[in-house]
């Protein structure tokens, strides 16, 4: 059977990114298993999960690409969220109380980054609206819980709470049409 070749010849490229990603993934798994064995044999607090969380954060910083909506600020938010959980976990294991302040500072930095990004990437700013709403609501809930003395109260909470109110006012007063449209798209059941 003679096949007339009517396609261009292809330079086969090796996808080094996927290759390195797989190798690093394997190294991470092995290192976690080693830490887990040492941790269980020595006893004490479960510090091996510090390693796991650290690896997960590194993996998301360098290797995780979102298949849809791979926007820098989305990735930053996701990594911030992971770091917040990480700090909370360390605090919980060591029975200390510093993560509330640090996490509140991280939340208001995150809100600030989102606002800056909203105005810098004006062409794509509509895709940040829902994310900003979520972060603001989160800050407001933490603020209310602090006022009710459920969570410890600190200066970072006041800053992030105020910033969240500014974001909500900005979105619902100056960008209300766009905000409602974006919410409709985001929560569409169709």
């Amino acid at each position: 059977m003679n096949i007339e070749n009517n396609y261009p010849s292809i330079n086969k490229k090796i996808n080094y990114f996927l290759l390195i990603k797989k190798v690093v993934g394997i190294i991470f798994i092995i290192s976690f298993i080693c830490c887990l064995i040492v941790n269980l044999s020595l006893g004490g607090s479960l510090w091996c999960f510090y390693v796991l969380f650290g690896e997960v954060i590194l993996y998301f910083i360098f290797f995780k690409r979102f298949l849809v909506d791979n926007i820098m600020i989305y990735r930053v938010c996701f990594i911030f969220l992971l770091i917040i959980i990480y700090f909370y976990y360390i605090d919980l294991i060591n029975n200390t109380n510093w993560s509330f302040l640090v996490n509140d500072i991280l939340i208001y930095i995150l809100l600030l980054l989102q606002i800056i990004s909203f105005f810098i990437n004006y062409n794509y700013h509509k895709y940040m609206i829902v994310m900003m709403l979520f972060s603001s609501l989160c800050s407001i809930i933490i603020g209310i819980l602090s006022i009710l003395r459920v969570l410890p109260f600190n200066w970072a909470i006041i800053v992030s709470f105020s910033l969240a109110i500014i974001v909500l006012v900005m979105l619902f007063v100056f960008y209300h049409k766009l905000t409602i449209l974006e919410l409709k798209k985001y929560f569409s059941l169709k």
Binding site: M1, E4, N5, Y7, N11, V68, Y127, S188, L189, K190
Partner: protein, 491 residues
């Protein structure tokens, strides 16, 4: 165009005035700043190309009206019922892509093709969208972007990068005399994709200065799009809820022998078949052309499979033949035709079985059952957040999806081109490019009395195409065989 004054220096003073006036109007077109510069550049290149072909400036400008670029379609689309699975099941290495191509008499000119795409995309706003995450489902959002045409330099149906906000879910590529569109299945099915491609090629011919006319496959790109063509056809159909539901997931079935290749597809082969000859054979045997080809394929698979059991061919069904809905979005479903390997020894028995099962399983009543099941599934899944659905769907798709069929055979049917295109377009092909477990995918398209049967291979084992070739040669059906090189070699 690097230097605007260089561009104007090509024309005499009178023509310069006309062109400056034209470009002043062009400043209002709705694009982002970066894309606007590129689109204006496209216009300049096109005008120069036509001017070099000794066309008058006034005649050139008549071919490229500005009005279509001034409308802004700020729309968004929820995914249709059958396309909701595609973004859920894709991963970093795999996504469902198919490809449609048309072959012209002459080599393709990139400048004209880019202009044709700039016009065509305005007529089909659905194709100028990017995909985004919602809380329950993904959705498509309109982007006023310039989509670039590329010279073909990659494996057919390779993955599309849709991760960025300004990336569309299809690509237009050209190679020698061929124009191809590769679509992520999410935006359209092959019928919708063919309408887009035919309209694009028709527009290309119009911009080359040829007289064109339009029909159901080649739409006038200077007109506005209408809502009906972008609607979710599944929502427009009402089905009797008491109808028998047909399961969407089937048991695992036999696969053709051969190890799966790491490069997918590892080769594409097109068999050009004489339509009149195959029609005569089908008529003699009292079956349709599709049933005849399915029977041949059952026979070939029987030879290429060493294990015993049921062989199943998955057949996508265009639901437009049962419902008069002219959407360009997905409106196709599938069913399977199954024959046990031990019954594949006689072509007449196979033909009888295929005819009987086709008439039963691909009937409107049965397909309505499949549709009802798909609609119900989507309805129940609607209330589950996307971050839960995505890993679940990915798992189900990976372990169950195409393992329930031996091959897929998709027949797009006879594409009727407008008379003006018939002399310029010689043939076409249709390639199903992606799959997880099947060793072969088969797709069929008929253009200008040439039936092109395309095989996308996912194994380096050559028994399938060799046996099919022998069978078609015995019936004296083959006009010629084209295809790609083998992208993966294994002894």
């Amino acid at each position: 165009m690097d230097n605007v004054s260089d561009f104007y220096n090509n024309f005499n003073k009178n023509d310069q005035k006309i062109i400056i006036n034209y470009f002043n109007n062009l400043k209002d077109i709705k694009y982002s700043k970066k894309d606007k510069i590129q689109v204006i550049n496209d216009f300049m290149k096109y005008i120069l190309f036509c001017y070099d072909m000794k066309m008058k400036v006034s005649n050139i400008l008549k071919l490229i009206p500005i009005e279509v670029f001034k409308k802004d379609e700020s729309k968004w689309y929820s995914l249709d019922t059958s396309s909701k699975i595609y973004p859920l099941s894709m991963n970093e290495e795999w996504m469902s892509v198919f490809r449609l191509s048309l072959y012209l008499n002459d080599d393709i000119n990139e400048i004209v093709l880019q202009m044709a795409l700039n016009y065509t995309i305005r007529r089909f706003p659905l194709f100028s969208t990017s995909i985004h995450k919602g809380f329950f489902w993904n959705y498509l959002d309109y982007q006023n972007i310039r989509i670039k045409v590329y010279k073909e330099d990659n494996i057919p149906c390779s993955r599309l990068n849709i991760s960025k906000v300004n990336k569309s879910a299809f690509r237009v590529i050209y190679y020698k005399n061929r124009i191809s569109c590769e679509y992520f299945h999410l935006i359209c099915d092959a019928h919708g994709g063919m309408i887009f491609l035919t309209s694009l090629v028709n527009e290309y011919l119009r911009l080359l200065g040829k007289k064109v006319n339009y029909n159901e496959y080649a739409w006038n790109t200077l007109l506005k799009s209408s809502n009906f063509e972008n609607e979710d056809a599944f929502l427009k159909t009402s089905i009797d809820k008491n109808i028998k539901k047909i399961s969407l997931i089937d048991k695992r079935t036999l696969q053709i022998d051969g190890r799966l290749s790491s490069i997918k597809p590892c080769q594409v082969i097109h068999f050009d078949i004489d339509l009149d000859k195959i029609h005569v054979i089908a008529h003699k045997k009292n079956v349709t052309i599709n049933q005849l080809i399915l029977s041949y394929l059952f026979m070939v698979i029987g030879i290429c499979t060493s294990k015993n059991g049921n062989i199943k061919i998955q057949v996508p069904v265009d639901m437009r033949k049962y419902y008069k809905i002219n959407t360009i979005r997905n409106f196709s479903l599938y069913n399977t035709i199954s024959i046990n390997k031990k019954n594949l020894n006689n072509i007449d028995n196979i033909l009888k079985e295929v005819r009987q099962q086709s008439n039963e399983k691909l009937s409107k009543e049965v397909m309505d059952g499949v549709m009802l099941n798909a609609k119900n599934l989507v309805h129940y899944l609607s209330f589950i957040p996307l971050f839960i659905k995505k890993p679940l769907a990915n798992f189900i798709f990976k372990y169950f999806s195409d393992k329930s069929s031996t091959i897929v055979v998709s027949n797009l049917g006879n594409i009727i081109l407008p008379n003006s295109m018939k002399s310029s377009v010689t043939s076409g092909d249709f390639v199903l490019g992606t799959n997880l477990s099947n060793r072969v995918l088969v797709s069929i398209i008929t253009i200008n009395k040439v039936l092109t049967l395309s095989i996308s291979k996912f194994t380096t084992n050559k028994s399938f195409e060799n046996n099919l070739y022998n069978l078609l040669k015995k019936e004296n059906l083959i006009i010629n065989i084209k295809g790609s090189e083998e992208y993966e070699y294994r002894k």
